[in-house]
């Protein structure tokens, strides 16, 4: 985390994540996983994560996003999904200050473009690996058996390799 980022308030850091993602992130799950990926790769804002039912989750980030919305640092729109549930779309008009070639920008863009279920699987495995889990992909499959089906786990592994190929300050380790 840079010195400038360190001095920022959590609400500003939360808004910066949306900004780094090109001004728009679709879905709470995607937001949480992007923020976690940034921390794992050493380009995050210092949010701490722990394992929840839906993989790595930061309560601090949830509160910061809510507060950032309340004071107008970002917008949150609740949309109806075709499958009957709801999801949030976070946007900001503030442009990113990151050069397009920065590892932070490349990583976040990869995550923004990814399928949310495959992203969840990839970041869950990465997080479990960072917590000392011996076989993170197997453990991810155990914990998320429905989501891991239909080739999604394999595609999540492929996505993780794309993240690994980015020259991040903390190199993402191989997971098997």
């Amino acid at each position: 985390m840079s010195q400038t980022a360190q001095n920022k308030r959590p609400i500003e850091k939360a808004a910066d994540i949306i900004r780094d993602a090109g001004g728009k992130i679709v879905g709470r799950t995607r937001l949480q996983k992007i923020a976690c990926l940034m921390e794992l790769a050493g380009v995050g804002y210092g949010f701490s994560f722990e394992y929840h039912h839906y993989g790595p989750y930061s309560e601090e980030l949830t509160h910061a996003i809510r507060d950032a919305y309340l004071i107008g640092l970002l917008n949150e729109e609740e949309c109806s999904a075709s499958w009957g549930g709801t999801y949030s779309v976070y946007t900001t008009d503030v442009a990113s200050v990151l050069p397009p070639s920065s590892p932070q920008k490349i990583l976040v863009q990869l995550a923004v473009d990814a399928d949310p279920i495959e992203l969840e699987l990839a970041i869950t495995a990465a997080f479990l690996g960072s917590q000392g889990e011996g076989n993170p992909w197997q453990e991810t499959e155990n914990r998320k058996s429905e989501k891991a089906r239909d080739g999604r786990l394999e595609r999540a592994k492929h996505l993780y390799e794309k993240f690994r190929a980015v020259n991040s300050p903390i190199p993402l380790p191989p997971l098997e």
Partner: protein, 469 residues
């Protein structure tokens, strides 16, 4: 040859264990050390400081969850008919019995200590998983087949129900919630939060609902839904939870005691880890000291319970470290910090503002006050914070979103057989606002902290009133 076993329970009355292989194995699980430890962990932590009757244990709750799970499984069996798989049902029932095995002393407060100090084995999910897979609990479970214990652990560790059997363990109508809502109400003595349990069970059906992650569909899953005649029982259920939050679970005194305990235990563990055990009042052989020095050891975690903590309080009250001595004495004598409800105070200051704008103004003021408190605490840099903050939010019911999961969804089956969200059928449920708390606690004699808080709240409320969004 198996023997029938019986337990008398204040909520369910007679809970029977049949003389068959499965229930005999469950009875053996109950006899293990990890399960017996739950007798010494109260379900509601410090709530008996407010409700003297609320001393019920996680042991009683866990047995009650098993009993309730069997009732729910009857609904599943009826629905599935010849498709019903006893082996799957037994895994879910075993999971219901052992789901709370990993809870530490004063459950949530202990978890918070672990979170602050990054102690993996203070998290009940991690401890439960380890105990179910690798302890005498696993031995008892594996009498039903090798790998039974691992399968049970996987059900509990899974990210949610993957089939209707799993819905017994985790869904809006899971056995855990159906037991604790009734048990906590009964034992605390509060007259709020009553649910129509028998009617709910009688109207419980199995339905197929869609699921997804963010905008992406994931498919469908079978879970519990309610028949059309249970809509008012469903409303009562949601309202019951809504009432239990402020009156029991987030009562200001209970939370105040949890805050004191959290600060006390954090300071004790940190001093022990820094090699300063002599200043804590504890002997090196004390279970808290052993846990502090090797927090990843499952044996050390198993040695902790509420009684160990209460037993340590008089010793910690004699500590040479003033912060420890002060906090321990306060807990012992129930001389807790005084609470100030920041949110309510701000609301009272902006009453003249138009109702439409008021909520936003209150939220903004809360954010400002929180930031000012953090800055003040950082400037004062005391051994333990002079102002303890309690901020939380709970939505008793919200229309489905994946981050909350199926756990929070109630579907009502209409007369025509369609499934609709309770939110769409009930104006009452739709009208419930989330329960939000922003309180602070400080010593009654800390006049400087009190004056700072009063001044800050008064300053910040009008400030935000004048600022544009």
């Amino acid at each position: 040859m198996f023997t029938p076993q019986r337990i008398r329970d204040p909520l369910h009355n007679l809970i029977e264990f049949r003389p068959d292989e499965f229930e005999n194995a469950m009875w053996s699980v109950i006899q293990t050390r990890p399960f017996q430890r739950l007798r010494r962990i109260k379900q509601l932590g410090f709530s008996d400081l407010v409700y003297p009757g609320a001393t019920h244990s996680r042991f009683a709750h866990s047995v009650g969850v098993f009993h309730t799970a069997r009732l729910l499984m009857k609904v599943v069996k009826e629905h599935l008919g010849s498709q019903y798989r006893n082996s799957r049902a037994e895994l879910a029932l075993a999971a219901a019995l052992v789901h709370d095995l990993g809870h530490g002393p004063f459950s949530h407060a202990f978890e918070y200590v672990g979170k602050r100090l990054k102690l993996k084995m203070a998290k009940h999910e991690s401890v439960s998983d380890a105990l179910i897979r690798n302890s005498e609990v696993a031995v008892a479970l594996n009498t039903l087949g090798s790998g039974f214990a691992n399968d049970v652990a996987n059900i509990i560790g899974n990210s949610g129900p993957t089939n209707i059997y799993g819905a017994v363990v985790s869904s809006q109508f899971d056995a855990d919630r159906l037991d604790y809502m009734q048990r906590d109400r009964l034992m605390s003595g509060t007259q709020h939060g009553m649910i129509d349990f028998k009617w709910l069970i009688a109207n419980l059906k199995v339905g197929t609902v869609n699921t997804g992650v963010d905008e992406k569909s994931l498919g469908s899953i079978d879970t519990f839904v309610l028949g059309p005649k249970a809509i008012y029982a469903a409303e009562t259920y949601v309202l019951g939870l809504f009432q239990l939050y402020p009156t029991v679970y987030f009562h200001k005194t209970t939370r105040g005691a949890e805050k004191i305990f959290t600060e006390l235990l954090c300071r004790v563990i940190q001093l022990i880890q820094d090699g300063k055990i002599a200043s804590t009042g504890l002997a090196i052989t004390h279970p808290i000291a052993k846990f502090s020095m090797a927090a990843d050891s499952i044996e050390n975690v198993l040695s902790l319970d509420d009684t160990v903590m209460w037993g340590a309080i008089p010793q910690m009250a004699e500590a040479t470290d003033k912060a420890i001595s002060n906090l321990a004495t306060r807990l012992r004598d129930r001389n807790l910090y005084k609470s100030l409800n920041v949110r309510e105070r701000i609301v009272s200051l902006v009453e003249s503002v138009a109702e439409n704008d008021r909520d936003l103004i209150v939220e903004k003021a809360c954010i400002s006050v929180r930031e000012k408190i953090a800055a003040w605490l950082s400037e004062k840099n005391a051994d333990t914070p002079r102002i303890l903050t309690d901020e939380t939010e709970r939505s008793p019911y919200k229309k489905f979103d994946e981050s909350k999961g199926l756990l929070n969804q109630i579907r009502i089956q209409t007369e025509s057989g369609q499934l609709v969200d309770l939110n769409e059928r009930s104006k009452v449920v739709r009208a419930i606002d989330p329960f939000r708390v922003f309180r602070v606690y400080m010593a009654d004699e800390d006049l400087e902290a009190k004056a700072f808080l009063e001044k800050t709240i008064k300053e910040e409320a009008p400030n935000v009133t004048n600022s544009p969004k």
